[in-house]
């Protein structure tokens, strides 16, 4: 099952740090679901893109967004 990380109550830079730590716990090409507030979208998604990860899904959850992140790398 894809782990879900809720960072809706965090502010920058903890949003970015928690996502990075979350991705550290999953294998390359694995998936992590992140629930985040609108304010965090730009910084989190741009840093994910910069590091080669992919956002493969987006859905709205009331005032927040749920994104599916695919970690960079080849499946082990």
């Amino acid at each position: 099952m894809t782990p879900t990380l809720d960072i809706t109550k965090d502010v920058c830079p903890m949003t970015f740090v928690k996502v990075k730590m979350g991705l550290g716990k999953i294998p390359p090409a694995g998936k992590l679901t992140v629930l985040l507030a609108e304010d965090a979208l730009k910084d989190v998604i741009s840093s994910l893109k910069q590091e080669g990860h992919r956002v493969s899904g987006v859905s709205r959850q009331e005032s927040a967004f749920l994104i599916v992140v695919e970690k960079e790398g080849e499946r082990p």
Partner: protein, 292 residues
């Protein structure tokens, strides 16, 4: 007063103080950039010729206060060896302000310090009807307050939506600070109102699929801003300019326009209130070959 000190006084940049026989010596600084060697020389000059203090001005400048009349030529000579010149006052083009731009700041879109040097080289101290200020912000965050200046320049990224990769997730619309994006999944369209766009590029950075890409990247110009007793915010002029050469041509035309139309001691913003901004834009378009 000897003849050399008198000559320095006439050139300007020496601000007469309330205390008789003392001057605050304004220095020529571009975009707030000084080398450590220049800073040391300024400290030495403040101790040698002033009372050991410096004043940081509102527009990235430095002044050495409390310099006596008989030291005005000497302080200039002392600082001149490190490349720090004496500043200007009166109806001239003043200090060009700039942020650290794209070479230092992660948000930077344009090389603000480099452009500031170019504007300074061509226009600093040049005569105009009244004081004239140029300020350059590297991006839409606008730390250097472009709209407060007679000419303000901002780094700008205009988005362009390419439909193929778009999943209509709505993130671009959610992050847009000016709400200039509308996502219509039913019609499979994302529309960007360029009139409302503030050029920040947040939609491009946030797009998970890179469907929102860069359209134009460059320089946005504002004209007629000022602070002082009766503040005015500068207004956006022209299309996005794409090179420093285009910007310099536009700045040249704006200053020519001000010289032709501005009355003595009339700030540029007040001139534009009289002539209208259209008069300025059509003049620039003719000069630079660019449509407004």
């Amino acid at each position: 007063m000897n003849i050399d000190d008198y000559k320095e006084l006439k050139k300007g940049g020496m601000m007469r103080q309330k205390e008789a026989g003392r001057f605050s010596v304004r220095l020529h600084i571009v975009g707030g950039d000084l080398s450590a060697e220049q800073l040391r020389a300024i400290c030495d000059a403040a101790e040698k010729f002033g009372r050991g203090t410096v004043h940081l001005t509102a527009r990235q400048g430095v002044e050495i206060p409390n310099v006596p009349t008989e030291s005005l030529a000497a302080v200039k000579e002392f600082l001149g060896t490190t490349g720090v010149g004496v500043g200007v006052c009166g109806p001239t083009v003043r200090t060009v302000t700039a942020c650290q731009g794209c070479r230092v700041c992660p948000s930077g879109v344009i090389d603000a310090p480099e452009l500031a040097l170019a504007v300074d080289r061509e226009f600093y101290g040049q005569p105009v009807p009244h004081k004239f200020k140029v300020g350059i912000s590297g991006c839409a965050n606008n730390c250097l307050k472009a709209e407060e200046n007679d000419i303000g320049i901002k780094g700008w990224i205009e988005p362009r939506w390419g439909g193929k990769a778009c999943t209509f997730c709505g993130i671009c619309a959610a992050v847009c600070p000016s709400k200039a994006i509308e996502v219509s999944p039913d019609q499979a369209v994302v529309s960007v109102s360029l009139a409302g766009c503030i050029g920040c590029g947040d939609c491009i950075e946030s797009c998970p699929t890179r469907a929102m890409g860069e359209g134009n990247r460059g320089y946005r110009l504002y004209a007629g801003g000022k602070f002082g007793r009766v503040p005015l915010l500068g207004r956006k002029i022209l299309r996005i300019l794409c090179s420093p050469e285009e910007v310099m041509a536009a700045v040249r035309s704006v200053i020519e326009f001000y010289r032709a139309e501005g009355r003595s001691r009339e700030r540029f913003g007040d001139t534009l209130m009289r002539t209208g901004f259209d008069a300025l834009e059509s003049r620039i378009a003719v000069r630079t070959g660019g449509a407004p």
